[in-house]
Symmetry: C2
Subunit: 224 residues, 2 copies
């Protein structure tokens, strides 16, 4: 396996290609930081009209496979399981880029677009393992501390594996890029960094001991 994904028409970076990357390590790092992806797909409504939608969902990565899950009747999973075209987008927002002209305003961000093959995971052991991975993304090693899964819970959960075929990342970082003539304009210009912060966990009413779980390492801890 090479270090870069092959390029497809969908993942090819046309605008600002200098911000792009097809490197697996760059794509993986963005995937592993994000808590949510958007599944884009087409479905046919009851009138027979094609509709296109992007649905947010949690996911977990294992090597070159992403796992998504949901209820048996979940439309997104149904579309994926049937082999219909889809793609996956992950977007992290890193900052507001405030320039001296409206034109050069921007956002700092890291995003990934992926296409691949979706397959339903039916093997129970593989299913339980992926479901544990989805939980452990929210809090490291959490699954081991939980009430073991019931058989019926495994049955009613549909699990889809997406084997990544093509992927590209796009990253904007750093200060605004004002035109040389504009830098003497008196507006403040620069970057306002943004990050997703976890604040103090709120125990539910049944918790007896204050053994607060660890939080996913990519989340900045705010006031605890």
């Amino acid at each position: 396996m090479t270090d870069a994904y092959p390029i497809s028409d969908l993942t090819k970076l046309k605008r600002h290609p200098e911000r792009g990357s097809y490197d697996r390590s760059v794509v993986h790092a963005i995937l592993d930081e994000a808590l949510v992806c958007h599944l884009a797909y087409v479905f046919t409504d009851p009138r027979g009209t094609e509709q296109v939608i992007a649905m947010p969902t949690v996911f977990a990565r294992e090597g070159e496979t992403l796992y998504v899950h949901g209820a048996r009747a979940n439309r997104s999973l149904d579309v994926l399981a049937k082999g219909a075209p889809f793609s996956v987008t992950v977007t992290l927002i890193d900052g507001l880029v405030l320039a001296r002209s409206a034109f050069h305003h921007s956002m700092n961000y890291r995003s990934v677009v992926i296409t691949g093959r979706a397959r339903e995971v039916e093997d129970r052991e593989a299913k339980v393992s992926a479901m544990a991975r989805l939980v452990d993304r929210l809090s490291p090693d959490r699954n081991a501390s939980l009430r073991p899964m019931h058989e019926w819970e495994i049955d009613v959960t549909r699990l889809i594996a997406i084997d990544i075929e093509h992927a590209s990342a796009k990253v904007r970082s750093g200060p605004p890029l004002d035109a040389p003539d504009d830098v003497t304009h008196p507006s403040w210009a620069g970057v306002v960094p943004l990050r997703l912060v976890a604040s103090a966990p709120i125990a539910d009413e049944h918790v007896r001991e204050a053994n607060v779980p660890p939080i996913a390492p990519q989340l900045s801890a705010g006031a605890r």
Copy 2:
């Protein structure tokens, strides 16, 4: 105009309808907090194959219209301007929901899915006004302090208005919903609140005065 959006096949909430809303005020509040939306659309690649993708982009709302913008050659805007099917998704992440069983783990979130009619804005005054609105979303009243727009900047920027026709919101909030039999299990359970936080602005190398601009009010201020 009623207070609720009409329901379509695309925006109808099927899973957990109790979490859903078609109220304009609920949808507007989510739109106005989000910095980025995902445009989902279909395009035909050079081989003639249909591809589906969700592209992140900044946007601004004015009444029942969303504005998105980009370069003339931007594929997403081109697809929208041509009247192809599309939808808009906005997702805000509010917290990790840690239950005592893997099955009841969840996220707290607020999301919106919208369909509507896209039209290109050609009128210069309307275009300048929408471009100013896009900038002012990042920092209140910012556009007034900027170097005025050049004519060529207005020319090379493509601006698309999306008139909302159907929209629905979905919101999960509050503690985990463990089964009654599970609440004595010793795992910690509760919510880890998440929020997007702005940290201290970083001036670029040309800034002479520390007149830091105001930040969009929906962003929590971290250490400044």
